[in-house]
């Protein structure tokens, strides 16, 4: 079912986990943009929120798989499965994550 998730804007170069029904979503503010991805590495299901943001990527803290925040596409050889991404809109001091 389509729905929106609203939250306050994040400080630059930070990230926050939000839970929506059975979805755990990681919202990131990096490089001047907000992104929302599922907080789950597609390699071995590890939560991504302890990973490091850099250059529009997040590194999984377990084995280091990097995912591009914009597309969800992985780098490297450990997985070929993209992480799920969600559209994000920024309005004034709020950000809206479109979940469908």
């Amino acid at each position: 079912m389509a729905s929106d998730l609203e939250m306050a804007r994040l400080a630059p170069e930070t990230k926050e986990v939000v839970v929506h029904e059975d979805l755990c979503i990681l919202v990131c503010h990096t490089g001047g943009a907000h992104y929302a991805i599922e907080n789950r590495c597609t390699h071995q299901d590890t939560a991504l929120h302890e990973g490091r943001l850099r250059n529009g990527f997040i590194s999984c803290p377990l084995h280091g798989v990097r995912f591009e925040l914009k597309t969800g596409e992985p780098k490297g050889e450990l997985t070929r499965i993209p992480v799920r991404t969600f559209p994000v809109e920024v309005n004034d001091d709020r950000i809206i994550i479109r979940i469908s």
Partner: protein
């Protein structure tokens, strides 16, 4: 035979590079005035050194594991846990920053059953190095921390099964590795480079652009395309006369050579020398229409000095830094130093590139070319993180890469000859390539250094 006819003594008509730059208003660095050419022979270079699988295997066995190679910039591994993988042939190194901010490098293979811990060319962050196969865990210092089900491994300890360290050292913000634990120091390997680079601030630059292209030619021939300015007239200027820059070629022991060529000086081969204003117009034309009208060169001044001052002012505004200490030659000229076996760096202000070449481990007819543009930043500020490299395949154009500007088309011209060169290596009945004694001495230097390791 007269003195001037001895091999290697001949020079292009007119003045030398060194004679040209002493006329600049600002004195060039002493190193720029140095002549260090040496005649290294005039025998053909066998084409088999490019095409032979056996020769490539010897390079991989006898040379690459024993030479210092640029693995990354320090900003690639700015914080503890950052890592960068450097691959050369079948060898692979993880370069990382430890919790105590030390830079370390390890063989990229688990000490259990050898699985590579990180993917080829990858970079990223981790708290520990954890093998994705069975989960053996190593600290950032390389120490074996955990073996799952260790009851089965009484013969395994941190002393015997920690990650194998690789030599690592830094120069000018670059991180170098050497897979040979007994190798000479990086400082010794660098030779004259630190002395020649004293007037530059390479450590305070950062990677603004990084493009990695697969090239259809052996790694040595790929490097050679950038080692001489002899090709400029035909490859870049459509054969137009008098387009050769005035260039010095110098060779230093053991691992360094260079060329430096002027930008915006009178080419002595022109039948009618251009005026300083005509030289200024020619340089200004490359800046594009949005730069306004071409400035006038005052009486008694040279186009080079006027243009260098404009470049310094513009870059000062762009980067918020003072470049007034850079001489005209440091600002404008194409200054290319080579560190054997695979690293080039341009310390100049307006052409701030670095190159790295690596063989394709599976095919001697292919190689990889990392092209970096380095830009200055305030030494008191932290450099921005390096960009993700843009990967180009053989048939992709450099003009598709962001950040190269008009040089994208120039790099296409440089690399578009390479497939034809590989075909010619195999078709040519002569058996080897013939080199100019002076303008192509750097190529011969490269081959002689390779031969020092692998034999003829």
């Amino acid at each position: 035979m007269s003195e001037t006819m001895k091999p290697g003594k001949a020079r292009a008509p007119g003045h030398t590079y060194q004679e040209a730059i002493v006329k600049d208003a600002s004195p060039p660095p002493e190193a720029f005035l140095d002549y260090s050419y040496e005649f290294l022979g005039d025998q053909d270079i066998p084409y088999s050194h490019y095409t032979s699988r056996e020769y490539a295997d010897r390079e991989m066995e006898k040379m690459w594991p024993h030479v210092w190679q640029m693995a990354c910039r320090e900003e690639h591994i700015a914080e503890p846990g950052d890592y960068q993988v450097y691959d050369i042939g079948h060898l692979s190194a993880i370069v990382t920053r430890t919790d105590s901010m030390q830079i370390k490098a390890y063989v990229n293979a688990c000490m259990h059953r050898g699985t590579a811990l990180k993917s080829p060319g990858d970079n990223g962050y981790c708290q520990t190095f954890r093998c994705p196969f069975h989960g053996w865990i190593y600290s950032l210092d390389g120490e074996l921390l955990e073996v799952p089900e260790n009851w089965d491994f009484p013969h395994v300890t941190a002393e015997t099964h920690s990650l194998r360290e690789i030599l690592v050292d830094t120069w000018a913000g670059f991180v170098f590795v050497n897979f040979d634990r007994e190798a000479e120091s990086l400082q010794d390997f660098l030779g004259v480079l630190p002395e020649h680079f004293k007037g530059f601030d390479i450590a305070d630059r950062h990677i603004e652009t990084h493009v990695c292209k697969r090239l259809p030619v052996n790694w040595k021939a790929a490097e050679e395309a950038f080692m001489e300015a002899y090709h400029v007239k035909e490859t870049h200027a459509g054969g137009r006369e008098f387009s050769e820059p005035v260039t010095t070629y110098d060779v230093y022991p053991k691992n360094v050579n260079r060329f430096i060529h002027t930008v915006g000086s009178v080419n002595p081969r022109m039948p009618v020398p251009p005026t300083e204003q005509e030289l200024m117009d020619a340089m200004w034309g490359k800046r594009g229409a949005n730069e306004g009208g071409c400035p006038e060169v005052p009486e008694g001044a040279t186009a080079r000095d006027v243009y260098a001052d404009i470049v310094k002012k513009k870059l000062s505004e762009q980067y918020g830094l003072d470049f007034s200490h850079y001489s005209t030659a440091q600002t404008l000229d194409s200054i290319e130093y080579f560190l054997f076996p695979n690293f080039f760096i341009f310390p100049g202000l307006s052409l701030p590139m670095a190159y790295r070449f690596r063989p394709d481990p599976n095919d001697p007819d292919y190689s990889y070319f990392d092209l970096y543009f380095l830009r200055p930043h305030d030494p008191a500020s932290r450099p921005p993180p390096p960009p993700e490299p843009m990967m180009l395949d053989v048939k992709d154009s450099y003009t598709a890469a962001e950040g190269l500007g008009f040089l994208g088309a120039v790099y296409d011209q440089d690399t578009d000859n390479m497939a034809a060169q590989t075909r010619g290596f195999k078709a040519c009945a002569k058996g080897g390539q013939t080199l100019g004694n002076y303008q192509e001495v750097r190529i011969r230097h490269l081959h002689q250094r390779v031969a020092d390791y692998v034999g003829e």
